[in-house]
């Protein structure tokens, strides 16, 4: 297979390793590994900030009545929790994983546009400082929900901050997506044909096209919000001839593909991890790739299932209902292929595999409740209830976040050169998987019983399940401190050196490199041999 190369000659000294100066290394870096690390650290920070907002929400909902916070602050917390988790934690985590691993997986020396890569990252801390600073403004922060529906979202004084922060996040995402597309299409090592790429790389290529297609739509939508608020336009103002429902159409044209932006790279990650620990090539490689592409296509034609309750024409409701249910087909292909990969495999259950298996099972539960919500007549009952909250948290927490955690455990030894503590990894896993279900499963029952979302107080009839959910929430939150501890230990304190091929069943270019991966890799493109590819030989 490919022989890992680190350039040891022909270059100036500073090409041999990381710059010694802290500022130069981390603020001016053009190295994909350093920028990947920055993204991952930033996303972990945002994960804990967004998580602390969730703790406020669950503490307030621990029992009926107003306990700890004022209703406006509660609304700020729900809004900020979503914005921070979506744009600050999940998306940057995948960009970080992509930054670190895509060049290593395709045999490229770096990302195609390293300076733009630096800019893409460094926009984010400014965007989130701006967004989070609104919590300290006299008028308070955004409190109209992450969906920013007018006229509600236009009532606060922080609209300009919110819009500018969203613009910055969008610019960062678009630049990141352009970089990933340019890297995958142009920087692959000779012989790394498109259908030889690892599924994770494929999933990111497709996700990057989704980002290109929908982030400008979000930018357009929030620009119109801004002009409605400050420049006297009436895009969404019925009194001026506009239409508030227009915003919902534009927002969800972005918003639904956004859901897949957060889950397709997770599919890719799990498709790397399961074959490694099942010691078998992925079952149905091409079907997996086409399924991701099909899901991406379908994500553009289902947006109005978020809006069944606004009074769509019957034909529209039927179309969006069936189109949404159609997504179950390629998703089912993926789930069956993951199971088939495990079937008959020589499986072991290290922490990444445990999280990947939990992903398959729990994401499928989230998918099934999504099918229930896709049914237009049923959605009239479920709409704006805790059932929706339960559904999307199963998809995003036990889906996207479990996959990110699995990916982190999977590649952490390659990044740091040290093994993490498997015992503590498993303690983290079992705590996470138990408490996440205690947290979110009762929310299905609350929703079915009629508890609305985004309320700080509720009927006493909902008290028990809310208390159980809050206890699960606190313990799930606390469990993530174990994750932080495992990472800190692996980076600074672990004595156990990681081998080059960290996992016995791991295949792919990244495992041919030393651990930790050298600062510069694949300056000389590697030679690709089919039989050593992660997914095995692909028939033409």
């Amino acid at each position: 297979m490919a022989h890992a190369t680190t350039h040891e000659h022909d270059h100036h000294d500073d090409h041999h390793g990381a710059p010694k100066n802290f500022f130069v290394r981390w603020c001016m870096s053009t190295n994909h590994k350093d920028i990947g690390t920055l993204y991952l650290v930033f996303s972990l920070l945002m994960f804990f900030i967004g998580g602390s907002f969730a703790m406020v929400i669950r503490a307030e909902l621990f029992k009926p009545g107003l306990q700890l916070v004022q209703p406006y602050f509660f609304n700020e917390m729900t809004t900020m929790h979503a914005l921070v988790m979506i744009f600050g934690a999940v998306m940057p985590a995948f960009v970080g994983l992509g930054n670190w691993m895509i060049p290593l997986m395709i045999g490229a020396p770096d990302m195609a546009l390293p300076r733009m890569n630096n800019l893409s990252f460094w926009i984010l801390p400014f965007a989130f400082s701006l967004l989070l600073s609104t919590l300290f403004l006299p008028g308070g922060g955004p409190a109209g929900g992450w969906t920013m529906y007018p006229p509600l979202s236009l009532q606060g004084d922080s609209v300009a901050y919110l819009v500018f922060a969203v613009h910055l996040m969008g610019i960062s995402s678009i630049m990141g997506a352009i970089n990933i597309i340019a890297t995958i299409l142009n920087m692959r090592a000779p012989g790394m044909d498109l259908l030889k790429m690892p599924v994770f790389v494929w999933s990111w290529l497709i996700t990057a096209f989704l980002l290109i297609a929908v982030m400008p739509v979000l930018a357009g939508a929030v620009t119109m919000l801004l002009t409605d608020k400050y420049f006297g336009t009436s895009f969404f103002n019925a009194a001026g001839g506009g239409d508030p429902v227009l915003f919902q159409h534009i927002f969800w044209f972005f918003g639904h593909p956004e859901v897949y932006i957060m889950i397709l790279p997770a599919f890719g990650l799990v498709s790397e991890i399961i074959p490694t620990f099942a010691r078998k090539p992925i079952f149905g490689y091409k079907a997996m790739v086409f399924a991701i592409a099909s899901i991406a296509f379908l994500s553009f034609i289902v947006w109005a299932h978020h809006m069944f309750a606004v009074g769509l024409p019957l034909g529209g409701e039927i179309f969006f209902m069936y189109a949404t249910m159609l997504i179950a087909v390629p998703t089912g292909v993926k789930v069956f292929n993951w199971v088939s990969t495990m079937w008959g495999g020589s499986m072991t259950f290290e922490t990444p595999m445990l999280f990947a298996i939990a992903f398959v099972i729990l994401f499928t539960i989230g998918g099934f409740s999504g099918l229930m919500l896709a049914l237009a007549p049923a959605d009239f009952q479920y709409h704006d209830t805790y059932f929706v909250v339960a559904h999307f948290h199963y998809v995003l927490v036990t889906g996207a976040i479990f996959a990110i955690i699995a990916g982190t455990y999977y590649w952490l030894p390659k990044w740091t050169g040290h093994m993490y503590s498997e015992t503590w990894g498993k303690i983290h896993f079992w705590n996470s998987v138990i408490w996440v279900n205690v947290l979110f499963f009762p929310q299905h029952f609350l929703g079915l019983a009629g508890m609305p979302r985004r309320i700080p107080d509720y009927n006493v009839a909902f008290a028990n399940f809310n208390m159980i959910s809050s206890i699960g929430g606190f313990l799930f939150g606390a469990s993530q401190l174990i994750f932080l501890g495992v990472i800190v230990h692996a980076v600074w304190f672990s004595k156990k050196k990681a081998p080059d091929r960290v996992w016995e069943g791991a295949k792919g270019l990244e495992w041919t490199l030393p651990s930790p991966a050298p600062y510069h890799t694949f300056d000389v493109p590697p030679v690709i041999h089919d039989d050593e590819l992660a997914h095995g030989h692909v028939e033409d």
Binding site: A112, L185, N186, I212, V524
Partner: protein
């Protein structure tokens, strides 16, 4: 891989990256403008 092949690879990568950035960047900008135009059309 000899030096001339490496240089040719580098050159073709640069050309490809420039083309990709131009096409994909233009698509992103066009979608932004189109979304504003749609807003103007329906409001």
């Amino acid at each position: 891989m000899n030096q001339s092949t490496e240089a040719a690879l580098e050159q073709s990568r640069k050309k490809g990256v420039r083309l990709t950035v131009t096409v994909v960047g233009s698509i992103a900008f066009a979608i932004f403008v189109l979304s504003l135009l749609q807003g103007l059309k329906y409001s």
